[in-house]
């Protein structure tokens, strides 16, 4: 199981805050998006975190990982 999270405008765009992917193979972050985002194309400027650390779209994700997608951050 891979836990997938969407934040801010991505949450609204995809229409959900989180989802779970069941998979026996290792997936890249981009493949996780394709499976979890219900047909929504990957936005430009997408930021990704795997297990609370920033990651790239081609990083490989394993069972038990948490993958988050979000737009540029705007805190402070």
């Amino acid at each position: 199981m891979i836990k997938v999270l969407f934040f801010a405008s991505f949450r609204e765009r995809v229409g959900r805050a989180q989802g779970m992917i069941e998979t026996s193979e290792n997936l890249t972050v981009a493949e996780v998006w394709a499976r979890a985002a219900a047909g929504t194309p990957l936005p430009q400027n997408t930021l990704v975190a795997v297990n609370l650390e920033y990651a790239s779209l081609d990083q490989v994700v394993r069972n038990g990982d948490e993958v988050a997608f979000f737009p540029p951050v705007t805190g402070g």
Binding site: L5, F7, S9, L52, A68, P71, V73, T74, G75, G76
Partner: protein, 146 residues
């Protein structure tokens, strides 16, 4: 090094004083303290803003801010740092963020404080949604450094 997320309004001065008095505990050692307070303005990109919701990624926020503090500590001779950040619904004139740094000498405190707020703005997973007169919008990017 302390990171606090506040779901209700906070008083930056009170946070600063309380931390300095009760937590810092190195009285007589710090010669300099720099603090940055970011306050919600009532105007952004040509529109009057009535309120703002600050969303964040619980867990990652604390982790990223902790790493940023550790980097500052490695890079400058500072004694302590405090970051307080609002989440949830914020109104104009309310504080959004406090970054305070204590050090023996002022250069380290200035540099570290500026590093912390710039790093926070690029790396900490917060997002602002503005409430305008009849609509809402996500803030798409932060104001640049200059």
């Amino acid at each position: 090094m302390t990171v606090l997320l506040r779901e209700v309004g906070f008083d930056p001065c009170e946070e600063f004083s309380t931390y300095q008095n009760e937590v810092l505990g190195q009285r007589g050692k710090y010669g300099a303290a720099i603090s940055f307070v970011g306050t919600m303005r009532d105007f952004n990109e040509g529109h009057k803003v009535q309120a703002m919701t600050l969303e964040h990624y619980p867990g990652m926020t604390e982790k990223q801010l902790g790493q940023i503090c550790a980097e500052a500590e490695r890079q400058w001779e500072i004694l302590d740092a405090l970051i307080v950040h609002r989440v949830g619904m914020v109104k104009p004139n309310e504080p959004i963020v406090l970054v305070a740094v204590w050090s023996a000498h002022r250069a380290a405190a200035f540099d570290a404080c500026r590093f912390l707020i710039e790093a926070l703005k690029t790396r900490a997973p917060f997002w602002k949604k503005e409430q305008l007169h009849e609509t809402t919008r996500w803030v798409e990017h932060n104001t640049p450094v200059n």
